[in-house]
């Protein structure tokens, strides 16, 4: 009975946070922290109650393992980010409403993950969409909110159509039962699958629906970007999971053409995932804004997650589920680090920053660990998940997905390194000379996230155990572990050993370093300049167009943004045409159309 309390409490919490904000803004911000941490605690304690069912108003819920897992990820990201809320209270346009919508969207996601019928699912889906839509414009861009809403609603309206279709066919809305009759009818199943999964694609930001991510993530309030990227994007993964596992796609598409054992429908989606990886990587490499860069990296990582989920196998699926968690916390940590920088300096543009490590080393460390995980480098969590995904791909022989995955992996070194070098390293700008370090309240979540990223990279057993349960629930073989060794069909990975050997190498290296003569500390401007005297650190900082030679290779790329923008503009023009054709101050125009319709329909009727 704990979960219904959580859902209801979160909604009430949203209102109370609003009321508290009216009394004191800071207190309201802390209320978001308290409530989300409370939800996290209840979730962790309530693990034994997985499987419980409950109803609120006309909505029905059932707590499944996957729902529990997803909501855990979501609440974690929300709770960690909420520590930052209090610092933006005086800068936010509607601080009270922000706190309200913050918790409201969290409540919505919980409801979504616990939903046991399709209508409840849809209700909470939309609740999350509209509540987050109103947070985004408090940041830097109004257009972002509109694009976000439009893309989301394309997805959700498609889902709605799917829900109706399913209901028409099966006569029930209970998630576990509604899809059963579709197994017999591959054509309808394909339609439903495509429609359903579209909502997932829009939310994860899979090509060609990715355009909202950089816009919204890049310009949302700094405290909401981590939630968007780390949390809300994962709702799409949930829907994708539902479409594949509950539909269940592999059974329904048993008869369709298969490529390497993957039905064509799923293969096509995987190709989309692969395109997202490549595209997200390429676009992230050329971004000039740190937040947009991480946003595009979310596009790329969404591609991994989607491919893994669609595989529905022992390895890649587990990898994907784990990657979801890893990406959530790593991307949240990265966004939080950028938020700290933005809080102190007021900008997120890479070229306007530099040398932040000398003012906020902990933030730097957070960012470093986050991006190591994002890039999938051991000993962080991201490595384990990427390893699983790639091993799974190698097992199946999906070479084009693998190609994209490799490109994304290596490419991620490029883009994650860029803010590292240009924001945190390099020359400190004179105007940032007197910046203060990060406040204590900001340090707490960053340290927690760092520890988590490292912990699950070294000891993923607990996490993979839960994922194993999800896999069992989805009817596939769970990922195998013996001790700390992950046993894949074509390779093993002992994360603890990797970590220990890494530590060993590090130790030797440290000993070598310490044995030798002590170094002389010199300033950042005392560098080799071909013996030229330079006194302008802000100019002596390599930040803009970091990968210029590489960017040049694809600078004239075709852009789906432009294409979709053109479609939107066509709608706009159509509106103008409608306006010009039918609306006038002269009765004659309308009389003319009236006569035309009258004659046409009458003659048509007479003809029939």
């Amino acid at each position: 009975m704990t979960f219904d309390i959580v859902v209801i409490l979160m909604f009430l919490g949203a209102f109370s946070a609003y009321l508290i904000s009216k009394a004191s803004l800071k207190a309201g911000a802390y209320a978001t922290t308290v409530f989300s941490l409370g939800a996290l605690a209840v979730l962790l304690m309530g693990r034994s109650e997985i499987g419980s069912e409950f109803s609120v108003l006309f909505m029905n819920f059932e707590v499944t393992v996957i729902g529990w897992y997803f909501s855990g990820v979501m609440v974690l990201v929300y709770a960690m980010t909420s520590f930052f809320n209090s610092f933006w209270m005086d800068k936010m346009m509607y601080p009270g409403s922000y706190n309200f919508l913050y918790l409201f969207s969290l409540a919505g996601t919980l409801g979504l993950f616990f939903a046991s019928d399709l209508i409840t699912l849809f209700i909470f889906w939309e609740v999350v969409v509209w509540s987050s839509t109103f947070i985004i414009p408090m940041g830097k861009s109004r257009r972002a909110a509109v694009v976000y809403y439009t893309i989301s609603s394309i997805g959700s309206m498609a889902t709605l159509y799917g829900i109706m279709l399913v209901y028409r066919i099966s006569g029930t809305l209970v998630i576990q039962e509604a899809f059963v009759p579709l197994k017999e009818d591959p054509l309808t199943a394909t339609v439903v699958f495509v429609i359903f999964v579209m909502a997932g694609l829009t939310k994860i930001g899979i090509f060609p629906f990715h355009i909202w991510l950089p816009l919204a993530h890049g310009s949302a309030p700094h405290t909401f970007s981590p939630v968007l990227s780390g949390g809300l994007v994962k709702m799409g993964a949930f829907i994708a999971y539902m479409s594949v596992a509950i539909l269940p796609a592999y059974e329904a598409f048993e008869g369709s053409l298969k490529i390497m054992g993957i039905p064509l429908q799923l293969y096509f989606l995987m190709i989309l995932g692969a395109i997202s990886i490549v595209l997200g990587t390429l676009m992230a490499i050329k971004q000039e804004d740190a937040k947009k860069l991480i946003a595009y990296s979310s596009v790329a990582n969404g591609g991994y997650i989607l491919i893994g989920i669609l595989m529905m196998d022992q390895l890649s699926f587990a990898g994907s589920m784990m990657h979801l968690f890893n990406h959530a916390i790593a991307s949240a940590a990265a966004f939080l680090a950028i938020a700290v920088v933005a809080y102190r300096t007021g900008t997120t543009k890479i070229s306007e920053l530099g040398g932040m490590i000398h003012r906020m080393p902990l933030t730097y460390l957070t960012y470093l660990i986050a991006i190591i995980s994002l890039a999938g480098i051991p000993p962080m969590g991201g490595f384990v998940s990427k390893w699983l995904i790639i091993q799974g791909l190698a097992d199946r022989g999906l070479m084009f997905m693998a190609l994209a995955a490799f490109f994304g992996s290596i490419g991620s070194f490029l883009y994650v390194f860029r803010p590292l070098a240009a924001v945190f390293l390099g020359q400190l700008k004179p105007e940032h000379e007197h910046l203060k370090s990060e406040p204590l309240m900001m340090k707490i979540p960053m340290v927690i996230l760092m520890v988590l990223i490292l912990y699950f990279g070294v000891l993923p057993k607990w996490l993979l155990g839960i994922i194993g349960e999800i896999q069992v629930a989805a009817g596939i073989e769970p990922v195998m572990m013996s001790g700390n060794t992950i046993l894949a069909v074509n390779g093993v990975l002992n994360t603890l050993n990797v970590f220990m050997i890494f530590g060993f190498g590090f130790l030797i290296s440290l000993i070598i370093f310490l044995l030798m003569q002590k170094s002389r500390r010199v300033g950042l401007m005392d560098t080799y300049t071909s013996a030229e005297f330079i006194y302008t650190p802000e100019l002596y900082h390599y930040a803009g167009a970091f990968y210029a030679p590489f960017e040049r290779l694809y600078q004239n790329h075709p852009s789906v943004e432009k294409f979709l923008g053109a479609i939107a503009w066509k709608f706009h023009e159509l509106g103008t045409v409608v306006n010009a054709l039918f609306f006038s101050h002269k009765p004659a125009v309308t009389v003319f159309w009236t006569s035309v319709i009258l004659v046409m329909i009458t003659l048509g009727g007479a003809g029939i």
Partner: protein, 114 residues
């Protein structure tokens, strides 16, 4: 025959509405349209060699052929309503003339299509 006359008038009225841009002429066209309509309605009730639908001491048996009285009642109402509308239209015409100094809709201009 009289139906066709009514329909002709209706079409003339619509033609006027389609082609005229002068407000007064539009009102006139509207009136022609209504007139045609009224004629048509009357014609619906018309019965050849029918008598007035009044029971008299002579005409009180079942074999009577009488004109349908209802359309005539309807026409009366329609005429009254048409009159009201015309009056209102003319009032508008006057206001438009005061506002724009012309009665030609083409010269007045419409809402922008922006």
């Amino acid at each position: 025959m009289i139906q066709y006359a009514g329909i002709m008038l209706i079409l003339i009225g619509i033609y006027g509405l389609l082609t005229q841009s002068n407000i007064i002429k539009i009102i006139v066209s509207l009136n022609i349209f209504e007139l045609g309509l009224n004629v048509f309605i009357i014609s619906v009730g018309f019965v050849r060699e029918g008598i007035a639908p009044i029971l008299t001491s002579v005409n009180n048996h079942n074999g009577l052929v009488f004109v349908d009285p209802l359309p005539q009642a309807l026409v009366l109402t329609a005429i009254v309503i048409g009159l009201g509308t015309t009056a209102l239209g003319l009032a508008f015409a006057r206001s438009i003339y005061r506002q724009h100094g012309t009665l030609n809709l083409d010269e007045i201009g419409g809402p922008s299509n922006g």
